[in-house]
């Protein structure tokens, strides 16, 4: 709403300069976008809240100004000269749908002269950003901008039978509106019709029809000034996708009492600028007349909500200026500042949204000044808690960052085809019914989708080394229910170690990914066996069939890890190896918490450890885990660790075989181990490996 500074002076004796006025308006609730000095004086761009339809006109803003500066608001009282002929004989109005149209007033002016508007009118419209058309049309816009109430003018002679019927639209009914567009109507809409009611001449409160509009040949004018139900208007504008100055005002709740006054103002201006004679009286059908509500406000409640007092005079002055007509009704009447003070107020017709005590308190506070309520910090009443998984997540984050992963944050909206690449079979994705584009039509059903996009972005922008993580959610449907699951997603590509002065470069490999995950797994392990995740063959089909695995803790599946399958990488045009992992966080957090609870100190050994290496020649396919399992099955408590230190295929190793160097550490908690004991253990180890796995011991 463009507020023309000089226009306000028609209603209040304003002396404050425009900048100061703008600032005071902003601090009392009328948000100000900008103040501009134009050819017609200062124009304040006021961003009027959707709860303040009364401020969509200069008169309403002037009322705010009067309240802020304690100025008198000039009343709009008009008595345009009327002819002997009566309006009631010239026009009939019938409201068939009073639930949609609460009031309809009609005035008729004969023998007007349609012509361009005078300069002063054009100037004010121009300052308000409205184009000038002709005097009668301009006047209806002018009155709307002045009093905040939208009107419509018809060419009286084009209204059939000189009768207006207000009714609901019929299904599949159509109208060609003023803007020349033919519009399909919906049954809840309020239609202005003429004659027997069969022809629509306007969509009530939104836009007039083309057939009865004012033209330069118009002689006689019918002024419609009505009131329409705000919800019906909003429903209609949403259906029609048509927003007009009129629909904005009626949609937020116009003042039904203003309808007649605005009509009179319009008639007065037409007489003044277009001549003609105004038929006596007004046809006023008013089925929606409301009895003004009484609302009470007490000092006790002001104190309870605001935490500081407002003087009686301030309360009364503010409420009076805003039209609430406060009356002290408590027994302590006359006692200034009484804690029992109660005022009974009357809701003005232009403030339908003010219905409750709290609404009045807001009015009092905003005019008094919010800065007058002294800020203080409330005392905490109880201990505060973090999220239940806060500690586990913090530990996880520390690890990830220590391991070199950078956190990313992504928008979960992805393209269906991308999501489908990674979506597990049988999973129902959460599709949007109104996406902005197909590229963002579905919420990711796994974090891999957006992780892949992040790696892709980096590769396309010359960043070929990336190690990324996201702690986020994936989104799925289960029937009619949504399912949001917290997940950790890892993505890595490029060099695990970049070439530097001291080291050569090394590409990221599956072993890097597994090592990083095992470092996270340490958080759920305990004692010397800190590698917490169990690894299993398998995984999803978008992972490389030979370089992937599944992780679990005890029997709980946690997720998958591996290299992206080449076919998928080709599809995404990723020209280098990329690695992904995704873990379900609720299970991981639970395990981290449980491990913390059960973790106990293990006394450090006092006796030396002895290492023995076993260089084994094994058939391909025998896993390290099988070797460990066999050695563990010997139940030698002195074996404290089994590690592999070298793995070799090729030269000097027969085809189909692999050379594996195992390092076993022996240590006793009771005594230093003797050579004989160790040799005895070594013999058992060799024997079981030979026996179970056909291992050959190589000379090392």
């Amino acid at each position: 709403m463009k507020v023309v500074y000089n226009w306000l002076k028609d209603f209040v004796d304003l002396t404050a300069p425009p900048q100061e006025l703008a600032s005071r308006l902003a601090l009392s609730g009328t948000n100000v976008g900008s103040v501009e000095n134009g050819p017609h004086g200062a124009v304040i761009d006021a961003e009027v809240g959707s709860n303040r339809p009364d401020c969509l006109g200069h008169y309403g803003i002037a009322r705010e100004v009067a309240a802020i500066y304690k100025l008198a608001l000039k009343h709009v009282s008009l008595k345009p000269a009327e002819s002997a002929a009566k309006a009631g004989d010239a026009i009939k109005v019938e409201i068939q749908s009073p639930e949609l149209c609460g009031r309809f007033t009609a005035r008729v002016i004969r023998n007007v002269k349609i012509q361009p508007s005078p300069k002063w009118l054009k100037d004010r419209l121009e300052a308000s950003g409205v184009a000038s058309i002709s005097n009668v049309v301009d006047i209806s816009n002018y009155v709307m901008l002045e009093l905040g109430h939208a009107l419509h003018t018809f060419d009286y002679d084009k209204v059939r039978d000189h009768k207006i019927v207000v009714r609901k639209a019929k299904p599949s009914e159509k109208i060609r509106t003023l803007d020349g567009v033919e519009r399909q109507l919906d049954s809840g809409m309020c239609m202005i019709c003429d004659g027997d009611g069969s022809r629509t001449v306007g969509i009530g409160g939104i836009m007039g029809g083309a057939e009865t509009e004012i033209s330069f040949s118009t002689k006689n004018v019918l002024i419609e000034c009505a009131w329409f139900d705000p919800i019906a208007i909003r429903r209609a504008t949403r259906f029609l996708k048509l927003h007009t100055e009129a629909s904005t005002r009626f949609g937020r709740g116009a003042d039904p009492e203003m309808a007649e006054l605005a009509s009179r103002r319009c008639a007065e201006l037409i007489l003044q600028l277009a001549g003609g004679e105004l038929l006596a009286g007004v046809v006023d059908v008013y089925p929606g007349k409301r009895v003004p509500k009484k609302i009470r406000v007490t000092r006790a409640e002001i104190l309870r909500v605001m935490g500081a007092d407002v003087p009686d005079k301030q309360i009364e002055a503010s409420l009076t200026a805003l039209g609430f007509a406060p009356v002290r009704i408590d027994h302590n009447r006359g006692a200034e500042g009484s804690l029992l003070a109660t005022w009974e107020c009357t809701q003005p017709s232009w403030r339908a949204e003010v219905e409750r005590e709290i609404d009045l308190i807001e009015e009092i506070a905003r005019i008094y000044g919010l800065e007058k309520f002294p800020p203080r910090l409330p005392a905490a009443r109880q201990g505060a808690s973090r999220l239940p998984h806060h500690e586990a997540e913090t530990r996880l984050r520390e690890r990830l960052i220590g391991l070199g992963y950078r956190e990313i944050v992504t928008i979960p909206h992805v393209a269906e085809e991308r999501d489908a690449l990674f979506r597990p079979a049988g999973v129902l994705p959460a599709r949007l019914s109104n996406p902005l584009s197909e590229e963002a039509g579905v919420l990711k059903s796994t974090g891999i989708v957006t992780m892949a996009a992040a790696l892709e972005w980096n590769l396309n922008h010359g960043q070929r080394n990336a190690r990324l993580f996201e702690i986020g959610r994936h989104y799925r449907l289960e029937g009619n229910q949504s399912l949001e699951t917290r997940v950790l997603t890892l993505g890595a590509t490029g060099e695990a170690r970049e070439k530097g002065l001291y080291d050569s470069a090394r590409e990221f490999s599956f072993a890097d990914l597994k090592g990083d995950l095992d470092a996270i797994g340490q958080l759920v392990g305990s004692g010397h066996d800190a590698r917490g995740f169990d690894w299993h063959d398998g995984g999803t089909d978008w992972l490389h069939a030979a370089k992937r695995g599944k992780m679990s803790i005890a029997k709980t599946e946690l997720g998958v890890a591996g290299q992206l399958a080449r076919r998928v990488a080709d599809r995404l045009k990723l020209r280098q190896d990329v690695f992904f992992a995704e873990l379900e966080l609720d299970a991981l957090y639970a395990a981290i918490k449980a491990a913390k609870t059960s973790r106990r100190y293990e006394p450090l050994p006092r006796f030396p450890a002895v290492e023995r290496d076993f260089s084994l020649l094994l058939a391909d396919g025998i896993t390290f885990a099988q070797i460990v399992e066999s050695i563990r099955s010997l139940n030698i408590p002195e074996i404290t660790s089994i590690e592999t230190v070298d793995l070799f295929r090729g030269k000097n190793v027969p085809a189909g075989k692999v050379s594996l160097l195992i390092r076993v550490t022996f240590q006793s908690r009771e005594a230093t181990l003797m050579d004989a004991q160790i040799n005895h253990f070594v013999g058992k180890v060799i024997s079981i490996l030979e026996h179970r796995h056909g291992a050959q011991l190589r000379a090392s």
Binding site: L27, I358, I361, P435
Partner: protein, 392 residues
């Protein structure tokens, strides 16, 4: 004059030394010879020792010199003890002994000095050789980082946690009831036009529509449903509005919701809490102001402004003209907030006559953009490593 080598192989008598005067002279001669030798440089000593057949080629010449003079079996001093001291007449023994002790002490001191000199020199040479170039990079192990949005979340969480606010989270896919109705935003409320909403495509006949929450405020309702007052929570999370993306709009962004409800929370407590937060976050020098505003679920509602952190609230740019960040206003709008509207309590069975409280919802992306001078919101979600590295 006999050389020392020869001389020490003989007795003093054989050398014709019979009196104290002679003893002094011959000891002076030995001492002079030592002084000449000890003054030689390392190479000189090496040559000398080779000449004396006292040094293997790989031996340290300084050690050899020491052994030549002080060696227990065949050092010069040992020879002097054996041939001069022990085999001289008792009348001269006192004089010889005295001279001997002086010589020994002199040699030991000089050799120790020589060793120290050489060691210092060696060390200096080594330091020069081993000096690190501090301008060369060290070995850098790859280190990760938190996303900037996360860092800001954490900071805000810590500030509110310190004044008694608990942290809760909620679903991003919500029902219209929690996102709108229970927040006093019925269908066809004009505010819904400002919150263009994404809906989930559900199978035909689904009982409730699902949408992507347009704010974190649904958690106000979910929290109060579960818990009786006192309530003090903040809710970090993602929110969604169906806006076309540009430099200042993303259809996904982040909010932190706050809610405090108790029997004695007033507007003053509300502004005090917000001011405390802002001074912690932006610094104590920042000025604040509350402007009346409108939200269906708070009343009184406010917009909260801080003095522009770029121009210090003056509205003028450093190089002249108008500050581009606050457009000359001197203030920057931060977020909306207010006292919880009593109508909201009706949805969660709180007694609006007995409790009161405040709520706020702040956009995190915007806070981060303001504080770090980021001019394009999209950069947060592209996750370019070069961006991520800027916020270690």
């Amino acid at each position: 004059m006999p050389t020392v080598d020869n001389a020490t192989a003989k007795t003093l008598n054989e050398l014709g030394v019979n009196d104290a005067q002679g003893v002094a002279e011959i000891f002076a001669e030995v001492r002079a010879r030592f002084d000449r030798q000890v003054a030689l440089d390392t190479d000189g000593i090496r040559n000398l020792m080779l000449q004396q057949a006292w040094l293997g080629s790989d031996r340290d010449p300084v050690t050899s010199l020491r052994n030549f003079w002080l060696g227990r079996k065949a050092g010069v001093l040992t020879l002097i003890t054996e041939n001069w001291l022990k085999r001289s007449p008792p009348s001269l023994k006192g004089v010889i002994g005295k001279q001997f002790n002086e010589l020994k002490s002199h040699i030991e001191t000089k050799l120790a000095e020589q060793r120290k000199r050489i060691e210092e020199k060696t060390e200096a040479a080594a330091l020069t050789r081993e000096q690190v170039d501090l301008s060369l990079p060290g070995v850098i192990h790859p280190i990760g980082s938190h996303h900037l949005i996360r860092q800001v979340f954490q900071e805000i969480e810590d500030i509110f946690f310190s004044i008694g606010f608990s942290v809760v989270e909620g679903p991003e896919i919500e029902t219209p009831y929690y996102n709108f109705e229970a927040l006093n935003i019925p269908e066809f409320h004009p505010v819904r036009d400002d919150m263009d909403t994404f809906y989930i495509d559900l199978p035909e006949g689904a009982p409730t529509p699902l949408l992507l929450r347009t704010h974190t405020s649904p958690m106000q309702i979910r929290t109060m449903e579960k818990q009786k007052p006192p309530v003090r929570v903040i809710v970090p999370g993602k929110v969604y509005r169906r806006d076309n993306p540009d430099a200042t709009h993303s259809f996904m962004f982040h909010q932190v919701e706050g809610l405090a409800v108790d029997t004695d929370i007033t507007f003053c407590d509300f502004t005090g809490t917000i001011e405390y937060f802002v001074k912690q976050f932006f610094g104590a020098g920042v000025k604040t102001r509350f402007r009346p505003s409108y939200f269906p679920f708070t009343e009184p509602s406010v917009e909260f402004d801080v003095s522009c952190i770029f121009c210090g609230g003056s509205g003028a740019a450093a190089g002249g003209g108008v500050c581009s960040k606050c457009k000359g206003a001197g203030w920057i709008e931060l977020f909306g907030a207010g006292m919880v509207d009593p109508a909201v309590y009706g949805f969660v069975n709180y007694d609006a006559k007995k409790v009161s409280g405040f709520a706020f919802g702040m956009g995190i992306d915007r806070l981060a953009m303001l504080r770090y001078g980021i001019d394009d919101i999209q950069v947060f979600f592209q996750n370019d490593v070069r961006f991520l590295k800027q916020f270690p």
